[in-house]
C-alpha cells in the first residue's frame, strides 16, 4: 500500500498510464445509479405520452370496428340514434350537446367576463381576497353535486316560472344553465389573468387622456386582453362539451333530436355514461358505438383546446 492510501480516497481502478493524483477525477467517474434514476424519471414522463397513444389507439381500433358496420354518412347525417334497431345517427346526441353548451356559454360567458372585469379593475384588494377563494370553492365542487342541484332545484324553479306543462322534468335548459355555473369560475379566473397582465402603462395612458374608469376598462383593457379572453371562452366551451354528470342527471335519458331547451334530450357524454353504466357485452355494436361517440368528443375538445392555445400564442399582444 502506498502513502496516498492515507488520504482515504480510493481510486476506482489502477491505471499505470494515468498521472497519479491525490484527488480522483470524480467528474469522469461512471455513475450507473445516476443513469438508472434518469431513465426511471424519463419513464415517468413517458407515461403521459403513452396515455395519449393509449387513448388514440383504443378509441381508434374500437371505432374502426364500428365504422366497418355503419357508414360515415349514416353516422354523421342520421337523425335517429336507436341502437336497439341498429340506427346510429349522431345528430340527436350532437344537437343536445350543442344546446346544453350553448346555454352554458350564454350564462358563463357574459357573467364570467363581467366578474373578471370587476375583480381585475374595480374590486379593492380586500374584496378580491374574499371573492377569489369563493370562486375557487365553486370550481372545486364535484360535478355530480351540480347535477343534483340542477335536477332538484333549478328544474323545479324553471317549471314554476315557465309553466309545468311547458318544461319537461328532464330538460337541457336546466342542465345547460347549471353547467354555466360550473364553468363560470374557470372563465372568470382565466379572464382575470388576461386582464391583469395588461400593463399598467396602458391604463395610465388612457386615464391621462381623460377617460373614465369604465372607458379604461372596456375600451382599453378588454381589447388589449382580447386574445386571452377568447382563449378562455374557447376553453370554457371545450369544458362544456365534455361535461358529463350534469347532463347525465338533469338533461334526460334517451336521444331526442331537438334544439328546444325545454325538452329532454341526451348528449354524447350522457349517452356514454348511461349505456356503459348498464350491462354491456364487449362484442356488441352498442359497445363499439360508444367509442365512435368518444372519438368525436375527443377530437372536438382537442381541436377547441388547440385553437385556444393557438389564439394565445398567435394574437398575444407583446408588451415590453
Amino acid at each position: 500500500m502506498s502513502d496516498s492510501g492515507a488520504l482515504s480516497v480510493r481510486e476506482p481502478s489502477f491505471d499505470p498510464d494515468r498521472p497519479r493524483s491525490a484527488v480522483p477525477d470524480l467528474g469522469r467517474r461512471r455513475r450507473p445509479a445516476e443513469a438508472l434514476i434518469q431513465s426511471f424519471l424519463f419513464l415517468c414522463a413517458s407515461v403521459s405520452v403513452l396515455t395519449t397513444i393509449g387513448i388514440v389507439v383504443t378509441l381508434g381500433t374500437e371505432s374502426y370496428s364500428f365504422f366497418k358496420e355503419v357508414s360515415f354518412l349514416e353516422f354523421f347525417t342520421g337523425r335517429v340514434w336507436q341502437p336497439a334497431i341498429e340506427k346510429f345517427g349522431i345528430l340527436p346526441l350532437l344537437a343536445a350537446t350543442f344546446t346544453t353548451s350553448l346555454w352554458a356559454m350564454a350564462l358563463a360567458l357574459p357573467l364570467g367576463l363581467v366578474v373578471a372585469i370587476y375583480l381585475a379593475e374595480y374590486a379593492p384588494e380586500r374584496v378580491r381576497d374574499v371573492l377569489k377563494p369563493i370562486l375557487e370553492v365553486l370550481a372545486g365542487i364535484p360535478t355530480v353535486v351540480y347535477g343534483y342541484f340542477a335536477l332538484t332545484t333549478v328544474t323545479p324553479v324553471l317549471r314554476s316560472v315557465l309553466g309545468e306543462g311547458n318544461v319537461e322534468v328532464y330538460n337541457t335548459l336546466s342542465a345547460g344553465l347549471v353547467m354555466g355555473i360550473l364553468i363560470l369560475p374557470l372563465i372568470a379566473s382565466m379572464c382575470e389573468d388576461a386582464l391583469s397582465s395588461v400593463p399598467l402603462s396602458l391604463r395610465e395612458g388612457a386615464y391621462a387622456m381623460g377617460a373614465t374608469k369604465l372607458e379604461v376598462s372596456t375600451r382599453v383593457v378588454v381589447p388589449a386582453a382580447f386574445s386571452g379572453l377568447a382563449a378562455a371562452f374557447i376553453l370554457g366551451l371545450s369544458r362544456a362539451v365534455g361535461e358529463t354528470m350534469i347532463v347525465a342527471i338533469a338533461a334526460g335519458a334517451g336521444p331526442n333530436f331537438t334544439l328546444n331547451p325545454l325538452r329532454s334530450a341526451e348528449t354524447m357524454t350522457g349517452h356514454i355514461v348511461r349505456i356503459s353504466g348498464g350491462d354491456l357485452s364487449y362484442d356488441s355494436i352498442d359497445y363499439t358505438s360508444l367509442f365512435a361517440i368518444a372519438i368525436l368528443l375527443f377530437v372536438t375538445t382537442l381541436l377547441l383546446n388547440l385553437i385556444s392555445r393557438w389564439i394565445i400564442s398567435r394574437y398575444r399582444e407583446v408588451y415590453e
Partner: protein, 432 residues
C-alpha cells in the same frame, strides 16, 4: 382677498360642454354616471356568482333535514310483551317477539346467520324494525317546508295516513355512515361507498404521485428545452383538457378489458372474494383516476420545482454533489410543500370524479365492503348519482346527506393541504 374667492381660485377649471374646444364634448357628468351604473352592474354580477354557491349549498342542506311520514305494516305499539312496550323489552323478549312475527323458516335463516342469543338489543330492535314493523316512507319534506309549512304537513298526514308516524329526521346521521347499502331509504347507508372512495383514492395517490413528481423532475431538471421535452410538455397540456369521460373509455378498454388478468388480480393468484369482478376492480378505478389527474400533478409539481432558486442547485453542485444528490437533498425538500399541496388539490378532484368510474364499471350494489385493490368497487359520488337518479323523494334526501359527507371529505382534504403547506413553511423558516 377673501377666503371664499381664494377657494374659488383653487378650483380646477371646469370642463363644461359650453367652454370645451370646438367639436369636443367631454360630457363628463353623463359619462361618470354611466360608469357608476356599470360599476354597480359589475358588482351585482359578481354577487350573483357568489349567490350561486350559496344557493347550491343551501339546496343541499335544505334537502338533508326535514319531516318524514312513515306508515308501518304492524303498529309497533301492538308488539308489547308481558305489558312491556317494545323499547323496554330485553334481548330475550325481543327475540321472542321477532320469532312470533316472521315465518319459521326465515327465523331459522336469521338464526343461522348469527344466533339470536349472540345479538344485542340494538341489533334485534333494528331487525324488528326491518322485518316486522316494515315502515314505509310515504312522504318527505325538506327543511324549509318543515319549518314554514308545518300546518300543511299535518293536514297531509291527516288526509293520507292518520295512523302514520310523522317525525323530524336528519338524513345525515351516524347510521348513514355505518350502514351498508340498502334498498330501504330509512336504513340505507354509505359505509361501502366511503370505504371504496378512500381505497380508490389511496391507490390513486400511490400511483400518481411518484409518476407525476418523477415526470416533473425529468422535465425541469434533466431536459430543459429539448425537442423531446417540448413534445412531452405539449402533450401534457393537451391531456389536461381531455374530458374525464374519455379517460373512462380508456380505462374500460385498456385496464378493465386489456389488462384483465392483472387488474382482476388473477396473475397474483385468485383475486378478490368475487373472482376479481372481471377487472372492474378498485385497481382499475385507481389506475384510471391516476392517469386522469397525472397532467395536473405534473404541471403543479413543475411549478413548484421552478420556484426553487437556481443558487441552491449551483451551491450544491459546487461542493461536488451529483445531479441526483442535488435534486434529492435540495430541490425536493425545498419544493415538497408546494408539490404536496398541488397533489392534494389534484386528488380532491379525483375524489369527486364520477363519470369515468361509471364507465369503468362501478358496481350498483355491493354485497360486501371493498377490502383491497381487487374488490368490486363503488364510490361516494357514484352512490350520490344512483340515489339522485331514483324517482322517490326519500332517495333525494339521502343523496343530499351523502353530498354533505362528500363535501366534508373534500373540505378536510383541502384543509390538510393548507396545514401541510404551513407546516413545511414553518420548518423552512426555522432553517431546520
Amino acid at each position: 382677498m377673501s377666503a371664499t374667492s381664494r377657494l374659488e381660485a383653487r378650483q380646477p377649471p371646469s370642463f363644461g360642454d359650453e367652454d370645451a374646444p370646438e367639436g369636443f364634448r367631454p360630457n363628463l357628468a353623463a359619462r361618470k354616471k354611466r360608469g357608476e351604473r356599470r360599476r354597480l352592474l359589475f358588482l351585482c354580477s359578481t354577487v350573483l356568482a357568489v349567490l350561486f354557491l350559496v344557493a347550491l349549498i343551501a339546496s343541499v342542506v335544505n334537502q338533508s333535514f326535514g319531516y318524514v311520514l312513515t306508515v308501518a305494516q304492524i303498529d309497533p305499539a301492538s308488539l308489547e310483551r308481558e305489558g312491556l312496550p317494545l323499547e323496554k323489552q330485553d334481548a330475550k323478549a325481543l327475540a321472542a317477539t321477532l320469532g312470533e312475527h316472521v315465518s319459521r323458516r326465515y327465523f331459522a335463516k336469521l338464526e343461522a346467520e348469527k344466533p339470536m342469543a349472540a345479538r344485542n338489543r340494538e341489533e334485534l330492535l333494528s331487525l324488528i324494525e326491518a322485518e316486522v314493523v316494515k315502515a314505509k316512507v310515504l312522504a318527505t319534506w325538506n327543511l324549509s317546508k318543515s319549518i314554514f309549512g308545518k300546518r300543511e304537513i299535518l293536514a297531509f298526514k291527516e288526509a293520507n295516513a292518520p295512523e302514520g308516524r310523522l317525525f323530524f329526521r336528519s338524513w345525515v346521521n351516524a347510521a348513514l355512515l355505518s350502514n351498508p347499502q340498502s334498498s330501504d331509504a330509512m336504513r340505507a347507508g354509505i359505509r361501502g361507498p366511503v370505504i371504496g372512495s378512500l381505497l380508490t383514492i389511496l391507490f390513486t395517490i400511490l400511483i400518481a404521485l411518484p409518476l407525476g413528481v418523477g415526470a416533473a423532475i425529468w422535465l425541469e431538471e434533466y431536459t430543459k428545452d429539448s425537442a423531446l421535452s417540448r413534445i412531452v410538455q405539449t402533450n401534457i397540456y393537451n391531456l389536461a383538457g381531455v374530458p374525464s369521460i374519455i379517460y373512462g373509455m380508456l380505462g374500460l378498454a385498456f385496464f378493465v378489458r386489456g389488462l384483465e388478468p392483472f387488474t382482476s388480480g388473477a396473475v397474483f393468484g385468485g383475486g378478490g372474494e368475487d373472482g376479481g369482478a372481471n377487472g372492474r376492480t378498485i385497481l382499475s378505478a385507481s389506475l384510471t383516476l391516476a392517469i386522469l389527474i397525472l397532467p395536473v400533478v405534473i404541471i403543479n409539481a413543475q411549478e413548484a420545482i421552478k420556484a426553487v432558486p437556481q443558487s441552491l442547485r449551483q451551491s450544491s453542485l459546487a461542493v461536488g454533489a451529483t445531479k441526483w444528490q442535488t435534486i434529492w437533498h435540495h430541490v425536493i425538500p425545498a419544493s415538497i410543500d408546494r408539490v404536496l399541496t398541488g397533489a392534494v388539490l389534484a386528488v380532491s378532484r379525483a375524489l369527486g370524479e364520477t363519470a369515468p368510474l361509471v364507465v369503468v364499471g362501478a358496481s350498483t350494489f355491493l354485497s360486501q365492503d371493498p377490502t383491497g385493490p381487487f374488490s368490486k368497487f363503488t364510490t361516494l359520488p357514484i352512490q350520490i348519482y344512483q340515489w339522485t337518479a331514483r324517482p322517490q323523494a326519500e332517495f333525494r334526501n339521502l343523496a343530499a346527506a351523502a353530498i354533505l359527507v362528500l363535501l366534508l371529505l373534500l373540505l378536510s382534504l383541502n384543509a390538510a393541504a393548507i396545514i401541510l403547506r404551513n407546516k413545511y413553511r414553518k420548518e423552512k423558516r426555522l432553517g431546520r
